[in-house]
């Protein structure tokens, strides 16, 4: 195949137009002082920086983001986990370790038979797959929006139940989710699941 090369004029061959154009383009970008718009319309906006200055500026965690798994409490601030150990079994990297209460278990809410004596998640092992959240019948564990998990030792990064509950807080997310959907009392996962199943296409 023959490629036709564009014939350059003598002015273009002097390299000067390119040089001047270079000055123009670099200057335009040089004087762009606005802060970053990481998820904004960056491509169209020459006057904004692309760098997000991380600790000061933070990105918006998108909906559905799978961050660190934490235990959540119910609306009365009681432990939701009933120590069924499904999450422990389903966890692919075996990051979760539950110590069941045994005979001497106490519960802090009505309607629960038991609650774990100890609940540990090794954040170094967790792969943020979300199976624990998926499998939990009580909606007690959620992958929340924490993505910066740091520590100075391996031991420090094994989160115990107290810490997980404190970090998880009240079950705001699940509650909001259900209320937004306009179904359920904001607590019961099975209602959502039933509704979702009903929305599946039926085959006859």
């Amino acid at each position: 195949m023959k490629v036709d090369r564009t014939e350059l004029t003598w002015w273009e061959r002097l390299y000067l137009p390119t040089l001047l154009n270079g000055f123009k383009v670099t200057l335009r970008h040089f004087f762009s002082w606005k802060r970053s718009e990481v998820y904004g319309d960056k491509q169209k906006n020459y006057s904004a920086k692309t760098t997000m200055q991380y600790p000061e500026e933070k990105w918006d965690v998108p909906t559905g983001y799978r961050g660190a798994p934490y235990l959540v409490k119910d609306v009365d601030d009681k432990t939701k986990c009933v120590s069924c150990q499904l999450c422990e079994f389903v966890c692919p990297p075996r990051a979760i370790r539950i110590t069941p209460p045994g005979d001497s278990g106490v519960v802090d809410r009505e309607g629960a038979e038991k609650m774990p004596k100890e609940f540990e998640i090794d954040m170094l092992r967790c792969i943020y797959c979300g199976y624990c959240q998926e499998v939990c019948p009580e909606e007690a564990i959620y992958l929340l929006e924490d993505y910066a998990i740091t520590g100075e030792s391996r031991e420090e990064l094994v989160y115990d139940m107290k810490k997980l509950l404190a970090l998880g807080g009240a079950d705001k997310r699940a509650y909001d989710h259900h209320v937004q959907d306009g179904v359920g009392d904001g607590i019961k996962k099975w209602e959502t699941k039933t509704r979702e199943a009903g929305e599946q296409p039926k085959f006859h």
């Binding site: 383009v25 670099t26 970008h29 040089f30 904004a48 920086k49 200055q53």
Partner: protein, 376 residues
Amino acid sequence: MPASITGLFAEPWALTLLKVIAVFVVVMPMVAYSVVAERRISAWIQDRVGPNRVGIPFTNIKLLGLGQPLADGLKALVKEDFTPGHVRKVFFWMAPAVAMVPSFVVLAVVPFGSMLGSQKMVIADLNVGILFTFGIVSLGVYGVVLAGYASNSKYSFLGGIRSTAQMISYEIAMGLAVVPVFMLAADPTWQKGLSQSWSVYLEGAGLLNLSSVIAYQSDTLFHWLMFKQPIAFAIFLIAIFAETNRLPFDLPESETELVAGYHTEYSSMSFALFFMGEYAAMIAGSALMVVLFCGGWTLPLGDFFNTPAQSFPQGLVHIGVFIAKIAMFLVLMIWIRWMLPRFRYDQLMNIGWKRFLPLSLANIIITAIVLWVLHS
């Protein structure tokens, strides 16, 4: 001050030593901060932010990232200086020093100010200043070539070879570009008409002395040789880019093809020496451009700025003017680096030999004809 110390400073060698130290103390931070400037300016041009965190150590004061050289220097010092097993050790260790020294030696003949007290602000007031400069500048290539040869790696080797060809090609154009400058400045009839303070200052200085070039340009803005000899200035400027391995002529380094060119195998402080050498060479090149084409430490703003200093503050102002002019050239060099893509190797040779060499020769001949017509 005790008599013995004052006596010591009457000795010429002590004063020279003092000047050497002073130049070093000024140039090293300039090197460090031109690295910061490079990083900040490149960042701004590319819509980034650049290093803006490091301030005063152990405090939260950030100072726009001006503490960055400290962090960089500390990092270079504490990193492992790895010597690969396959290198030629003596040359490998020698190369960074050889690369760095010439750029500093060039500064010895550059008049960086007029007078401080009774001292001329130049370390070695050589009458063959410009010849000395060219002699030393061309030594810069040895560091690069040695590094390329000693590293015993194909990338370094290619970098070294490219550097040899490039530096030799551009040295010629650079040398010829300077000839018209001295055709104009090294003119005995002109030197007889100098003002009182200038003729005292230039007492005993030869015609190739860099101070007399400055004197020639001191009158008005249009006495600056960058306006009188624009072609020579352009060629010299571009040749300086090539000599200091800056883009668009950084073929010896050429990250995209040669990893890092001649310093691929270097780490830690020996890499930092190459780096500092590059920036010191930029400063030396800028200093030469300022002296030869932009009036050196003078400004065409009246006697205070364009005659040799009579007082101490005036001398300091002259040094400040000189440093400011150098800084402007440094910014230009940094700016160009983030603007233009690298030339291909054959284009580089083409420009050097087929464009600049004939152009500079033509420039000499034209200047000669004009001078001949004017003087006869």
